[in-house]
């Protein structure tokens, strides 16, 4: 039984994914924020991107390991916005998406 649990855990996609919460200043409209979503989706390791206009943050979920902060900052600045903070979080982008959809 323990072996089955271990096998299931190892096969769980969330175990191999890392989510980063990027707090962004100036992100006020969906039309403009698309640039951020598109650019982050262009990173080869990106699994999912969630944009929250209301709270002004983006969740970047990547396979295996997080993206270097300098790289994220450059992408956001090239899209025309400013990064105020980047932090690692335990939840997946989908989990955060569902949290805010319920509100």
């Amino acid at each position: 039984m323990k072996k089955i649990w271990l096998l299931l855990l190892l096969m769980s996609p969330s175990l191999w994914a890392v989510s980063q919460k990027i707090e962004v200043n100036g992100m006020v409209c969906a039309f403009c924020a698309q640039g951020i979503e598109k650019s982050l989706n262009n990173i080869a390791t990106t699994k999912d991107v969630y944009v929250n206009l209301d709270e002004g943050f983006v969740i970047l979920e990547s396979q295996s390991e997080g993206v270097a902060e300098d790289k994220i900052k450059k992408i956001i600045v090239d899209a025309g916005y400013d990064v105020t903070q980047i932090s690692l979080i335990a939840e997946t982008a989908e989990h955060i998406r569902k949290q805010y959809e319920k509100k």
Binding site: G26, V28, A30, S39, N52, D78
Partner: protein, 214 residues
């Protein structure tokens, strides 16, 4: 000219309200009305600069203009705050236009090179939008300086994936084309990929602005 407009539309990757989007993007903007119609595309070679082309048509029944320009757009200043964004843009173009004056009294055809330096300021939150711009359009014996003012509000805030409705009051004056400023209340709908703006001006002219991100 119509074929070129169509080709530009077909090859447009991104259509947005702001003059420049993110680095590497191709943006197009259209404005269709009875007195003025334009379409332009630009390529952002970095986060603050873009090069582009623009076609426009002006018509007030007596005077008609068809123009083409190559331009450069520069984001002079941007202030990103938690709930707002403010920009100052500097544009400049070199172009060529041709047209006719006072057709009722006999055609007087004109053709001239022109320059079109412009300055734009805009401020936006999730509920408020303000814009002011002035563009000099000067050539041999022509002056079509264009002033635009826009102010509006959103009816409510929306999430990233929802459609957001806005009411925008658009005031535009083109020297030598408008006898007085044309005021157009416009309903604007923004979805993640679709941007639709339409209204009827105080002169009874319908105006439509449709944009889509491919």
């Amino acid at each position: 000219m119509k074929v070129i407009f169509l080709i530009l539309l077909l090859f447009t990757h991104t259509l947005i309200a702001q003059p420049i989007s993110y680095k590497g993007s191709v943006n197009s903007m259209t404005d269709v009305g009875k007195r003025f119609a334009s379409i332009e595309s630009n390529y952002a070679y970095d986060a603050k600069n873009a090069v582009g082309v623009k076609f426009f048509h002006m018509d007030n029944n007596d005077r008609q203009r068809d123009g083409f320009e190559v331009n450069h757009l520069h984001r002079l200043y941007r202030s990103n705050q938690k709930h707002s964004q403010m920009n100052i843009w500097l544009f400049g173009g070199l172009g060529y236009l041709e047209g006719s004056n006072e057709r009722a009294g006999g055609d007087q055809n004109i053709s001239t090179a022109f320059v079109s330096p412009a300055l734009q300021w805009d401020y936006e939150t999730k509920r408020v939008f303000l814009l002011a711009s002035h563009q000099f359009i000067r050539g041999d014996s022509i002056n079509h300086d264009t002033t635009k003012l826009k102010a509006g509000f959103s009816f409510y805030e929306t999430s990233y994936d929802e459609t957001q409705p806005w009411l925008i009051l658009d005031v535009m004056n083109i020297n030598g084309i408008n006898s007085r400023p044309e005021v157009t209340p416009m309903l604007r709908l923004i979805n993640k990929a679709l941007y639709l703006e339409g209204g009827v001006s105080n002169m009874g002219n319908p105006r439509l602005h449709v944009m889509y991100t491919f």
